[in-house]
Symmetry: C2
Subunit: 525 residues, 2 copies
């Protein structure tokens, strides 16, 4: 990815004229776009690693696999949250890891961790760099130096069990790389988060990623059969069977461990045959409450769609769910998207069952087209954010989840907190929301927020983020459904798991990482 924005250069495009006009009208921005900086001119502090330390790391991974050049460091300067991107757009000196280390395999990861634990060098595991919660910030947190441990060379599919539908994948494989290896053998990952094109298998596991097909294929943590984890104290091989009663499930302690308890080097996953058939069906509901109740009836009955999502009135009105037509004619009501994958018989039965339930719950079938349009544009939103940021618009997303019975209240509380906080700063926001992950007992809420930038947009957003995080906690939501904790959600972790829960995490960390070098400043308060 480019260092100061999402994705690859060819993904970036100027704002559509319709949107630019809208922004000028609604938010009073000029409509001009700022130019980005030339990455070669970005001031970076010098690497804090000594020559002896670089030599020591080179002894583990080879000299050409320890990089301290400007570009290598800049590209691992952090993740892709809006504050990250705003910081890169500022002219302040940029923080970056002191070196980037590229281990070849699990044993080299162990070697790097062992070396760094001995010398007191912090280690930030680095996959796709798509974190939006500060999860890959090069935080030193009291250590003199920090290295980014780039896992891209752990990129093999070491086994595919075509009978059991499992694949063992290197942590450094990106979504498309893993999908290509699998599809050549007739299988699919079934995991398509918005970060899919860049994020890595290890990152999916370390952050409890959840993809857009989660209704059908589950969250990434649900798919994990086995994790191989390197720690400064050695290796953990976790998961011996599809399910077990052999005590606590330690996979679930290292899923979501965000590089703070170990480096996931290899994941064995449940995979899926490439579906024979995919059926698409979009729906319109008169309002969000009706649509949410309809989705609930589908997931609670077990009608088993692969994708099941619902945009609220604001998101539907702006066509944000249909990338091909963003900013087009306003659309009334709430758009829902369903897809069904599997054998022809399976898809036919499931889509018929869901169709009957959604129609009975007040939905109007819109045909395939809007659902296909959604799928076509589903990885594009982060590019749009960059174009908005360049135009003086603050744009960020956040997400939570709760039980169905609490969903409307949580949505109202989050929206109010954003309106109060940003409105109170003189920048009333436009808040849009969708449900993208459903469970029999509840659902996620994903918010997109747009407002005019203030002179210090980072502080502007941090103020809003604090307010909305507190509102989520007070309203009984989880501080994150699929973006993880990183640095940004750490203040809410005690509320999430309690003080004793935090002590449990600290005890685990002390056991596997007594020197505390693993991704310091993240996850654990």
């Amino acid at each position: 990815m480019v260092w100061d924005a999402w994705g690859i250069p060819s993904g970036h495009a100027p704002l559509p004229e319709k949107i630019r006009t809208l922004l000028v009208q609604v938010f009073g921005v000029s409509g001009e776009s700022m130019a980005r900086r030339d990455e070669g001119n970005v001031p970076l502090r010098a690497s804090a690693l000594s020559q002896a330390q670089l030599t020591g790391l080179s002894a583990v991974v080879g000299p050409e696999r320890v990089r301290t050049d400007h570009r290598a460091r800049l590209l691992r300067a952090g993740g892709k949250s809006t504050p990250d991107l705003l910081r890169r757009r500022s002219t302040d000196p940029q923080d970056a890891p002191d070196a980037v280390v590229f281990p070849a395999d699990h044993d080299e990861v162990l070697g790097v961790l062992s070396y760094c634990a001995e010398r007191g060098v912090a280690v930030v595991p680095f996959g796709g760099g798509t974190s939006v919660v500060g999860g890959v910030d090069p935080a030193r947190d009291g250590f003199e130096a920090v290295v980014a441990l780039d896992l891209r060379r752990l990129s093999a599919m070491t086994s595919l069990d075509e009978v059991s539908h499992t694949a063992t994948l290197g942590a450094g494989l990106t979504g498309p790389q893993a999908e290509a290896l699998l599809s050549a053998r007739g299988f699919s990952l079934g995991h398509f988060p918005q970060s899919f094109e860049f994020a890595s298998i290890g990152g999916f596991a370390a952050t409890r990623s959840s993809g857009q097909a989660s209704a059908g294929y589950g969250r990434f943590d649900d798919m994990i059969q086995h994790l191989r984890v390197a720690t400064p104290r050695g290796t953990l091989d976790l998961g011996r069977a599809p399910a077990s009663a052999a005590g606590p499930d330690l996979r679930e302690l290292f899923s979501g461990s965000e590089g703070a308890l170990g480096v996931i080097t290899e994941v064995t996953l449940r995979v899926h045959p490439v579906p024979e058939t995919v059926a698409y069906q979009a729906w319109s509901f008169p309002d969000f409450a009706t649509g949410a109740a309809a989705l609930r009836s589908v997931i609670q009955t077990g009608a088993a769609p692969t994708v099941l999502r619902l945009s609220d009135e604001a998101e539907t009105g702006l066509n944000l769910a249909r990338a091909g037509d963003i900013g087009g004619a306003p659309v009334a009501g709430c758009l829902a998207v369903t897809t069904f994958e599997g054998t022809a018989a399976h898809v036919e039965a499931r889509s018929a069952e869901a169709h009957a339930l959604l129609a009975a719950a007040g939905g109007t079938a819109l045909g395939e087209h809007p659902a296909r349009e959604w799928e076509h544009g589903r990885f594009a939103a982060p590019y749009l954010r960059d174009a908005l940021l360049d135009t003086g618009i603050l744009c960020e997303t956040l997400e939570t989840a709760t039980n169905w019975s609490n969903l409307a209240e949580l949505k109202a509380k989050v929206t109010a907190a954003l309106a109060d906080s940003l409105g109170g700063q003189g920048t009333p926001p436009l808040v849009m929301c969708h449900i993208s992950h459903t469970y029999p007992t509840g659902a996620s809420l994903y918010f997109t927020i747009i407002a005019k930038q203030l002179d210090d947009p980072i502080t502007q957003w941090h103020t809003a983020k604090r307010a909305v995080g507190d509102a989520i906690a007070a309203a009984g939501g989880t501080i994150t459904h699929h973006h993880a904790v990183g640095r940004d959600h750490r203040p809410w972790m005690s509320g999430e798991i309690g003080d004793l829960g935090v002590q449990v995490l600290r005890a685990v960390k002390q056991t596997v990482d007594p020197a505390g070098i693993l991704n310091p400043g993240k996850l654990i308060p």
Copy 2:
């Protein structure tokens, strides 16, 4: 339950004559049944608790809630494994907890734990007492005294969310008690392990129980939304949403914690509307491999049966899967049972899809009757075991799980280890097996073993258990799919999670239970 056998007195019956004749012929036993002992005459060691300690415990829960009488202690003398039952049939003095304490609520549990941690008294949480792995043995493990913490008074359903399909249930509720509370409101637990009639909600969670409807409703750990856990260091409230990315999932550390990391006092579960319809369909397959492949196609396609099970040739031949006809005319092939629950439309679509898959995979539909017969007798097998034990027959079960691709080999290795070990002792066994829990990636294997008892049947079985446990580990199975670890599987825990995994568990225990009073000698090596 009665102290020296499974269940309630009215559940016990003499062996059917056909079976008795078979046992005489095959195993050369006399066919006579031993009489059981009068529980009043069983020698128990005196309670090791001082009067001051009893007074101290009484101050927490009330004097009438601390019992040291013979019967109260005897009924918490341990679980219901075959060695447990054989030990109770011996004339040796019986071990038992030094007192039984009955807290009223979470706070009283905290009070008992705090008192016992201070005085160095071991605490064994006690639910239904159905453990078959030594999980509720009154082990002192270096402490001078041990109390059984009977949770039966934690028996309220404190909330039912009819929108979100969740219920909050006290840990002490038995399966039928919970089901009665739920069904009065139109819901069902959906969790029916063989221990259902006696086991408790807290025990299901603490042992990662898996019920016979797991194909449809999941394992018990899958159903858990929230756990409330009392520890000597305070309370843990875990689980804020249907799913979360807020770090490691600590629910999964306390699910399966078997009373060694805390006392689960309350569980919020996903529950299910009482199904509109239940469809039954039994199948016959020519052999186990064909049947297993058929089950695999059903679960991998997502045809979503509620129950999906397959008996091997030996089990089918003895009609063990059809309690009404055990010992009847031998049946060829392998019997499979499917049921489907839900709305009428849902059941019709699912059963049609599964029917087509099972028929295509070589199955012959046998109609409803054998499936209904299986359901009718599904909680009865442990009573049969008692009758066998009384007739000089060794009868025990064990279970494991692995990937589909490894299932045949694991089954062969387990069977061989049992044949070698028991055969080597001069008591060649009859080994039967079924698949009762299926996953897209694999399945469980549940073995029933029958052999002639030697003079010391406990040692006879321990020798076989050691051999078969080693065989399971060597063949890549998990040491337990749903019976838990307890005392009996502890020797294989290092193999299951590695030495570093064991250190992680010890660190967690040290954090929540620094005095080590919680269920000592169980789970953690």
